[in-house]
């Protein structure tokens, strides 16, 4: 039976998020002080050695990313926290920022020290104005206390564009422009905000950093799955008894999350499907529930860990209808910069609507498969590349549901 292990959420519900004294009394800002005494490179090495991998979806080694920015020579460097959290079913970054904002600030400050940046931004989604207030209060307190030294943090608000979670679109948005992804390379580590070397990490990634510095890389590496160590916060939604958040070691299985901590399916109903990682994640059946939730194990079964959203559907749910809903989402959120995504998301949605209304033909499924394959390799950014995933995975695992809706 799965058990929670709280590292990132250690202070959640324990301290008053709006009192910096509470955070300091709980040992807060000690890691930042320690980091400053260690020296820049040893801090980066420790984070790299811990194998802390990005919690925003791509799973890149955080210390490795910091190295690029450290090595770049520039008069100005930036640290950006990605708090755009737009994947449907995801609310973990909100929980971290609401319950322990100083942990995020400390993680960012350690990163800023290590890479040599004196300016940071938190890009928080526009749907969280109450979180923005908390962050701004926390920053003011940290300035008053002088704990951040010469590191300055500014909060910027997103404005309802899912694509702005993509790091280069996010950077465009901070620059005051339309949030359209840039061509990569160059990556932000080389040329990011206003062309300067920039670290972009997720809220949960930064929130892990103080404990890694305090307790060391070996301690962190010993937790969870060896290739993606530490914990991960999962946010449960849909047909599950405990619709809430859990922080667990990364080797916990999906089944343990849904049936152990999550309490199973309400109303005596049977499990049908789960979508992990938000709308861009795979929708998988019962037979894959024993997969550990870590990044690589999920990838091996054709699924994604993504943001850690766990959206559960019981036996009464219409899978084709849910997949159609995700198709509409991607059509709406496509930024329109590249043709395969702009046109592809529209066509997928069109065909899915047809199938969902019982007007589809058998050939439509082949068409979706081809279109999906083309998009996954030809779209400019992860949005278009992932848009077909819920469609392709439901056609694979729940073919009978499609067949039932398609005539002849």
């Amino acid at each position: 039976m799965a058990e929670e292990l709280r590292i990132v959420l250690r202070n959640c519900g324990v301290i008053d998020p709006l009192k910096i004294e509470d955070y300091i009394n709980a040992g807060g800002y000690k890691a930042l002080e320690k980091a400053r005494n260690m020296g820049q490179l040893p801090v980066i090495d420790e984070v790299k050695k811990s194998n802390l991998r990005g919690r925003g979806g791509a799973g890149f080694n955080a210390g490795q990313k910091w190295t690029f920015v450290y090595q770049a020579s520039a008069d100005q460097k930036y640290v950006i926290c990605n708090a755009d959290e737009g994947e449907p079913g995801t609310y973990k970054d909100r929980i971290i920022m609401e319950s322990d904002p100083h942990r995020l600030l400390e993680g960012m400050a350690i990163c800023a020290y290590a890479v040599g940046a004196d300016k940071g931004y938190i890009y928080c989604r526009g749907e969280y104005p109450y979180v923005v207030d908390i962050l701004r209060q926390a920053i003011a307190q940290a300035k008053d206390k002088g704990v951040l030294g010469d590191f300055d943090i500014e909060v910027r608000m997103g404005a309802g564009a899912y694509v702005c979670g993509e790091e280069t679109a996010l950077i465009e948005s901070i620059e005051g422009k339309r949030g359209e992804p840039r061509y990569k390379p160059p990556y932000p580590g080389v040329s990011g905000l206003w062309g300067k070397p920039t670290v972009v990490n997720n809220v949960e990634t930064f929130a892990n950093v103080p404990d890694i510095i305090e307790k060391g890389a070996d301690w962190f590496k010993s937790i969870g799955a060896p290739s993606y160590p530490g914990t991960k916060i999962f946010t449960l939604s849909g047909d599950v008894v405990n619709r809430t958040f859990f922080e667990v070691p990364t080797n916990t299985t999906i089944r343990d999350i849904i049936f152990g901590l999550g309490g199973g399916i309400p109303g005596g109903k049977k499990f049908k499907a789960v979508q992990i990682g938000g709308n861009s994640g795979a929708i998988i059946p019962e037979s894959l529930l024993d997969t550990p939730a870590d990044f690589d194990s999920m990838a091996k079964v054709g699924a994604t860990l993504g943001s850690g959203a766990v959206f559960v559907m019981d036996e009464t749910r219409d899978i084709v209808d849910v997949a159609t809903r995700t198709a509409k989402f991607f059509e709406h959120e496509s930024c329109g910069k590249c043709a395969p995504c702009r046109e592809g998301t529209m066509r997928i949605h069109e065909i899915m609507e047809k199938i969902n209304q019982g007007k589809g033909k058998a050939g439509d499924m082949n068409l979706l498969e081809r279109l999906g394959r083309v998009m996954s390799v030809s779209c400019l950014c992860g949005l278009g590349q992932a848009a077909p995933v819920p469609i392709l995975t439901t056609m694979k695992h729940f073919r009978a549901d499609y067949n039932a809706k398609v005539k002849e």
């Binding site: 749907e127 404005a159 949030g179 809430t244 979508q275 559907m313």
Partner: protein
């Protein structure tokens, strides 16, 4: 109400401040008046088309009048399967308008949104950006009655 020019000018020297300026305008007016676009173009020294381009890119911004209470309903999958459609029906029936419309007295506007990050308590609506959780069709009359 603070006037448009005063609000936008506060962000003139902020790097990339255009979006922050739009947020400030929308906090004051609940929407972005047409004049704010041309004024922003002037203050930030960019073409009017670009100022429009930025404002229309972001679904959180709305150019043109909205009601005093902007009610947005999340239609992302977790809210969808939890009965968002019934909440839509109740809202439309109580207010006598369709999604996307504003009541003739200028009090309410109904809009769709994607996930607002409160998926533990679906379905969710937001009223002037404040989330209202676990909404059901029969709670709608009571919720609306509290908005004066």
């Amino acid at each position: 109400m603070a006037d448009i020019n005063t609000i936008i000018n506060q962000y003139k020297s902020v790097s990339g401040g255009l979006i922050e300026a739009y947020h400030a305008i929308q906090r004051e007016y609940n929407y972005i008046p047409e004049e704010a676009i041309t004024e922003a173009a002037r203050v930030f020294s960019i073409p009017v088309a670009e100022a429009y381009g930025v404002a229309t890119f972001y679904s959180y911004f709305k150019i043109g009048k909205r009601g005093r209470y902007v009610i947005r309903l999340c239609e992302s999958s977790p809210c969808h399967i939890a009965g968002a459609a019934e909440v839509v029906a109740a809202l439309e029936k109580e207010l006598g308008i369709k999604m996307g419309e504003t009541t003739p007295d200028g009090k309410f506007t109904l809009e769709y949104t994607e996930c607002v990050g409160q998926c533990q308590s679906t379905p969710v609506i937001t009223i002037n950006s404040q989330p209202v959780r676990d909404v059901t069709a029969d709670k709608i009359p009571g919720i609306l009655a509290q908005l004066q």
